[in-house]
């Protein structure tokens, strides 16, 4: 292809860059110049991750043909800091914890710069409008807006009070996030940024049919294309199935495709364009078969089977064996108490059915992985994952390798939310790397994300509740149907864990809960932040508002009367030691009472939610370095800042600063084994083991120091990289001295903690346009029971992000299918995430005190509970504002107007 030479100024330096006419400015920056701080999130100008300053204006570099940049002055994120001194905007993002995964951060910082260059003192509304082209899936924007306000003040030369970042690495302090500086400067390397010598690029051949038999696959024409190195189909791979729960999914379709987008073949070529072109030239002959797209239809006898001729599947990563009943891959029913009798004696019975749409994790970073062959016949994989050890297990299983020959390095994840647990991209790149003997990179396009990731399952939830006239809840029946898609993935667990929570955080003496996960000819659904719970809580909390109406009661009073109180048991089995749920509830209801929704078509909605935080056996590795500083290694990927919290607990225990502690995760060859990062389990479990490890390490050092100082270990204390006598701190031995002759380090494993439990109460105030059904979110309040906030800034980050994701699920987000089973949404333009302009500041109330048994200061998980009731709260607000109930989420303008 003919090249031309582009002349432009990038970050103040004149550059001449050979480009092809097909290059965009984004390609030039990332692929030609290695400026990978500029991110690719969608390729269509919808996400803003690729924002750069182009002659002073914020633009999407993915939409600018390279040649149009001739003579331009371009500033990328790499050009903002002055050496190692951060630009005030970058510094403010660090100080205000205005970043989480960091993938949108470079674009966000530059969009903020474009604003502040023009408007030195912007209002909150101006900031939100200026940032509306930069999608952030993690933060909910509240801390970003604060960071921009802070940066504006700094740039105006105003003197601020002390920054929020304290120096002490103590528990309870808003310590700066590990890796924050790399993220605001664009130096964080994500999997899709990796560039290895001789690296090839991969593309997938996908099914255009929801259900078809593969009659033949012809690859000759594709292989003949210059630059194509390998094409693999199922015939080239071991006939192995794997999956999170059960082993029902092949990595490439065997004989049959089960959804539009199903993986049929995979190509490696010298560049991404060639790989895509080759994928197009792979000729697959299909015999289309009848497909079943609706979960209710699929559950009926006689509908087309997704896995015909199969009775069940053996266990996968979590060892759950499936026994199939038609398309039902999982069924469960639990009964507690005399439900029928309770319904018979009830004054009021309400019976309603609620539906939720499939919704996407929609991380701004798409799935990406790089694999490189190793000399020993094995493979090394760098990937964006929440579950590196499951990736190792999956790749080993799919390719028939021992785990010793599969090394997985978890790169920084650019957003995950459960979407980066399942194993599908890594086996493909690993197989191609082994086949070609070269490194191979694969990055999903936004459309592939929509068609072949693992979104939240659509559900149909029937709820029947019996109550006394005074509002006392007597009994409940729930029937929970989840659309699993073509494979089981996580959906049986969605059903199982949802059925446990069917009471809601209330006293319901009698319960019958049944549910099923059902195969359909659609993409398989998987874990997404609190799998099952936003859907279930939407049903239960809509139901509570309706029940109140039927009883003629105030919905807040109905809740207050039935909420779990001190001394009562949660479904997780914990017994409440305080009135924590009532404290959360009172905090929120008081805020509502202070701001009544008096305007027409305006209302508050409230919902209560809960989450069980599981315990797992946890490991950590701690060692003292030669100079006395400490290294911590854990096997849990850092999704939410959990690594910072874990390190904070260790630093606090050892009396050292964050700069005196290196914390790392995770390389499956060297890190201690850990389960997937998800379910709000990491901080709860890992701070427990890390603190225990730090204690043991401190004890060992005290023992050594006691010998040296001729004292007892109990007379010693650690402080400032020294062990000293409590009574006479002038007598001390440095950590360095204590390890000079004998290294000190431990690997510690603690047995599984019991599960713990967390509550959240959300309230949302909306106004609804009576002419159009458009909704404006005016206020949103979150109260969260977190036990102990190790790092309050990060807890707030989870609260803000969790609530805003729920607003998206309630109002805008829906994956739709056409009649043929094809995803109808085209990119982020049709799958609409909340922008900064759509949501208000999230008001956070951290409620501490109901601590867990974690030695991590009694902390509990926050990511999931902070999300659970948001959809329901917003839905209740909308329904209150219009005075009618909507039984299906999202509550689109059309559904609102039609209600």
């Amino acid at each position: 292809m003919a090249t031309l030479v582009l002349h432009l100024r990038i970050n103040g330096v004149f550059r001449q860059v050979p480009v092809t006419p097909t290059d965009t400015l984004l390609c030039v920056l990332r692929d030609r110049l290695g400026l990978t701080g500029t991110k690719r999130g969608c390729g269509e100008g919808e996400c803003g991750a690729c924002t750069v300053l182009f002659n002073g204006e914020a633009v999407c570099s993915c939409l600018i043909p390279a040649a149009e940049a001739e003579g331009a002055d371009v500033i990328t994120i790499e050009g903002l800091a002055d050496g190692i001194r951060l630009h005030p905007i970058q510094q403010a993002f660090v100080d205000e914890e205005a970043l989480q995964c960091g993938y949108c951060t470079p674009g966000m910082v530059l969009a903020a710069k474009a604003l502040l260059d023009r408007v030195p003192n912007p209002t909150e509304d101006e900031i939100r409008t200026a940032l509306c082209g930069n999608l952030c899936r993690c933060t909910g924007y509240t801390q970003i807006v604060r960071a921009v306000q802070r940066a504006a003040a700094v740039l105006r030369g105003e003197t601020l009070g002390a920054g929020p970042g304290p120096v002490r690495a103590a528990v309870g302090e808003p310590v700066e996030r590990i890796g924050a500086r790399e993220k605001v400067t664009g130096r964080t390397v994500f999997a899709g940024d990796m560039q290895l010598p001789g690296m090839l690029h991969a593309a997938v051949v996908r099914s255009p049919h929801a259900h078809a038999e593969i009659e033949s696959i012809r690859t000759e024409e594709a292989l003949a294309l210059n630059g194509v190195r390998a094409i693999l189909t199922a015939a080239d791979l071991p006939d192995v199935r794997f999956g999170l729960l059960a082993a029902d999914e092949p990595i490439l379709a065997v004989d049959r495709v089960r959804y539009v987008g199903d993986r049929v073949a995979v190509v490696a070529a010298v560049d991404a364009e060639t790989a895509l072109e080759a994928a197009r030239r792979v000729k697959v002959r299909y015999r289309p078969l009848p497909a079943v797209l609706s979960v209710e239809e699929a559950a009926r006898d006689g509908s087309p089977l997704v896995h015909p001729g199969v009775d069940g599947f053996p266990g996968g990563a979590f060892g759950m064996e499936l026994v199939l009943d038609g398309n039902r891959c999982y069924e469960e029913e639990t009964v507690d108490g005399d439900v029928d009798a309770a319904f018979e004696h009830a004054d009021v019975v309400l019976d309603e059915t609620y539906r939720t749409a499939p919704q996407h994790q929609a991380s701004i970073e798409p799935h990406a992985a790089v694999a490189a062959p190793r000399g020993d016949g094995g493979v090394a994989i760098w990937t964006s994952t929440q579950a590196p050890f499951i990736v190792r297990q999956g790749v080993a299983a799919y390719l028939g390798l021992p785990m010793s020959q599969v090394r997985v390095v978890a790169m920084e994840t650019g957003g995950a939310f459960g979407g980066k647990v399942s194993v599908f991209i890594e086996p493909m790149v690993a197989a191609l790397a082994l086949k070609t003997g070269q490194p191979v990179r694969m990055v999903y396009s936004r459309q592939e994300e929509l068609e072949d990731a693992r979104p939240r399952s659509a559900t149909v939830i029937r709820v029947r509740t019996a109550a006394q006239a005074d509002g006392t809840l007597l009994a409940r029946e729930v029937d929970f149907l989840a659309d699993s898609g073509a494979y089981a993935d996580w959906t049986p667990a969605v059903v199982n864990s949802s059925l446990r929570a069917c009471r809601g955080p209330y006293r319901v003496p009698n319960l019958r809960a049944k549910g099923a996960a059902v195969y359909t000819h659609k993409f398989n659904t998987g874990p997404f932040r609190a799998p099952g719970y936003p859907q279930l809580t939407f049903a239960l909390e809509s139901h509570m508002d309706e029940l109140a109406a039927k009883l003629g009661m105030d919905p807040m009073e109905l809740r207050r009367k039935n909420l779990l109180r001190n001394g009562e048991k949660t479904f997780s089995g914990t017994e409440l030691k305080t009135d924590v749920l009532m404290r959360c509830f009172d905090t929120v209801t008081k805020a509502i009472a202070d701001d009544p929704a008096d305007e027409p078509h305006t209302a508050w909605g409230l919902a209560c939610g809960e989450w069980e935080i599981g315990g797992f056996p946890a490991s950590a590795l701690l060692k003292v370095n030669e100079d006395g500083t400490v290294s911590l290694s854990v096997g849990s990927t850092d999704l939410t800042g959990s690594l910072t919290s874990i390190a904070q607990v260790v630093a606090d225990e050892l009396g050292i600063e964050m700069t005196e502690l290196s914390a790392s995760c995770i390389d499956t060859d060297t890190s201690p084994l850990a389960p997937l990062s998800g379910g709000s389990m990491v901080t709860y479990n890992m701070t427990h083991v890390a603190r225990e490890g730090a204690k043991q390490l401190a004890d060992e050092l005290k023992k050594r120091a006691a010998t040296a100082l001729e004292a007892k270990p109990s007379q010693m204390e650690v402080s400032g990289l020294k062990v000293r006598l409590k009574k006479d701190p002038s007598k001390s031995v440095s950590f360095a001295g204590l390890v000079a002759n004998e290294p000190a380090g431990i690997t510690i494993t603690t047995p599984a903690l019991p599960a713990t439990h967390s509550f959240a109460v959300h309230a949302v105030k909306v106004s609804v346009s009576p002419e159009t059904g458009e909704v404006r979110v005016l206020r949103a309040i979150s109260a969260l029971d977190c036990g102990k906030a190790i790092n309050p800034n990060m807890v707030k980050g989870q609260m803000c992000g969790g609530l805003v994701q729920g607003l998206g699920e309630c109002l805008w987000e829906e994956i739709r299918f056409d009649g043929e089973g094809r995803v109808a949404n085209i990119g982020f333009g049709d799958y609409r995430l909340p922008t900064a302009a759509d949501v208000p500041e999230i008001e956070c109330h951290i409620v501490e005190g109901e601590t867990s048994t974690s030695r991590g200061h009694g902390c509990k998980g926050v990511g999931e509970p902070a999300h659970v009731p948001a959809l329901a709260a917003a839905a209740n607000a909308v329904c209150a504002a219009i005075g009618r109930r909507i039984y299906e989420s999202p509550l689109s303008p059309e559904r609102i107007l039609g209600a």
């Binding site: 292809m1 006419p21 097909t22 965009t24 390729g43 269509e44 100008g45 919808e46 803003g48 924002t51 182009f54 204006e57 914020a58 633009v59 999407c60 993915c62 939409l63 600018i64 043909p65 040649a67 149009e68 001739e70 969009a111 474009a114 604003l115 409008t129 200026a130 509306c132 082209g133 930069n134 364009e273 072109e277 459309q447 009576p770 002419e771 159009t772 458009e774 404006r776 109002l811 805008w812 739709r816 109808a824 949404n825 085209i826 990119g827 333009g829 049709d830 609409r832 909340p834 922008t835 900064a836 302009a837 759509d838 689109s892 303008p893 059309e894 107007l897 039609g898």
Partner: protein, 297 residues
């Protein structure tokens, strides 16, 4: 496939000639936001193999007024430039509002109004606003220049009356009458970055007696192209600017538009919104007209 050839002619006639050489697979590149994203998403078929950039063609300005008071917007004038222009805001508020609401700041910094109009998307906010001001497209080809009124510019979804080698050089809007006002409203889901389910724009001029002398109502996303609803406009003429009249006009508009059902909204919802929102848009336009009259007198 991405485009494979990018040319930067230095005159309109050169640009026109380049476009004529391979009309099927050539496209004009101004801001590129619509073209690039649609090409990337595989929505342009056949994908353009030749992009003819307007970047190097000398222009007489971005936003200027001719002696007759008409407003001229160049082919490369961005939405951000129009949105920031105080005179446009003052005189053509519906156009100002449309230009502030399209996409994001990043998009508006590159996207042009002419490009928005030429995209001929039924959901082109700028095209809808432009329609309600009696706009004219100044078209050039390799040897001549001529005018096409915007009302006869659109021929179908994403198609216009332009022939291969014809390029819109500028848009021109007559000066509004002194007793006129306009309003714009887009109805969708999000407040930003939203392809609207319905777009409404109206401009209303009053006579000395305060009756409606002329009315232009334009709608988007309710027909194969951005449309004017002349039947509804006619109904308003000579009437006092009162809610009953506006509601009647909205009923006619709702009945005469021709929406489809797609992922954004159903046809029925779109008609319902036209019925419910157009009266508000007309009301606001009329109020602005009255305010303009008060200011003028």
């Amino acid at each position: 496939m991405a485009p494979v050839e990018l040319l930067t002619p230095t005159s309109w006639s050169e640009a026109a000639l380049l476009l004529q050489e391979s009309p099927e697979t050539s496209a004009v590149l101004a801001g590129g936001t619509d073209l690039m994203s649609r090409t990337f998403m595989g929505k342009v078929s056949p994908a353009p193999r030749r992009l003819v950039s307007l970047r190097a063609i000398p222009s007489m300005g971005t936003i200027w007024r001719a002696d007759d008071g008409s407003l001229h917007l160049h082919a490369r004038t961005t939405l951000a430039q129009i949105a920031a222009d105080p005179a446009v805001r003052e005189t053509y508020p519906a156009l100002h509002e449309a230009c502030t609401r399209i996409g994001s700041p990043q998009i508006r910094a590159r996207a042009t109004l002419v490009g928005n109009v030429c995209s001929a998307s039924p959901a082109a906010d700028g095209a809808v606003a432009a329609l309600c001001f009696g706009g004219t497209a100044e078209v050039v080809d390799d040897h001549s220049a001529f005018d096409v009124p915007l009302v006869s510019f659109f021929t179908g979804p994403r198609t216009t009356c332009l022939k291969p080698g014809q390029i819109v050089r500028a848009l021109r809007f007559p000066p509004p009458s002194p007793r006129s006002g306009s309003a714009f409203r887009r109805v969708g889901t999000r407040r930003a970055m939203d392809c609207a389910a319905v777009i409404l724009a109206a401009s209303v001029a009053l006579d000395a007696a305060g009756r409606i002398e002329s009315a232009e109502i334009a709608l988007g996303s309710v027909a194969p192209t951005p449309i004017r609803v002349t039947e509804a406009e006619t109904r308003l003429l000579g009437q006092a600017p009162l809610p009953a009249g506006f509601a009647e006009a909205a009923r006619i508009a709702s009945a005469t538009c021709d929406p489809i059902s797609d992922i954004r909204a159903s046809a029925e919802y779109r008609r319902q919104v036209v019925r419910g929102v157009l009266p508000l848009v007309l009301q606001q336009a009329a109020e602005r007209a009255m305010a303009a009259e008060r200011q003028g007198s």
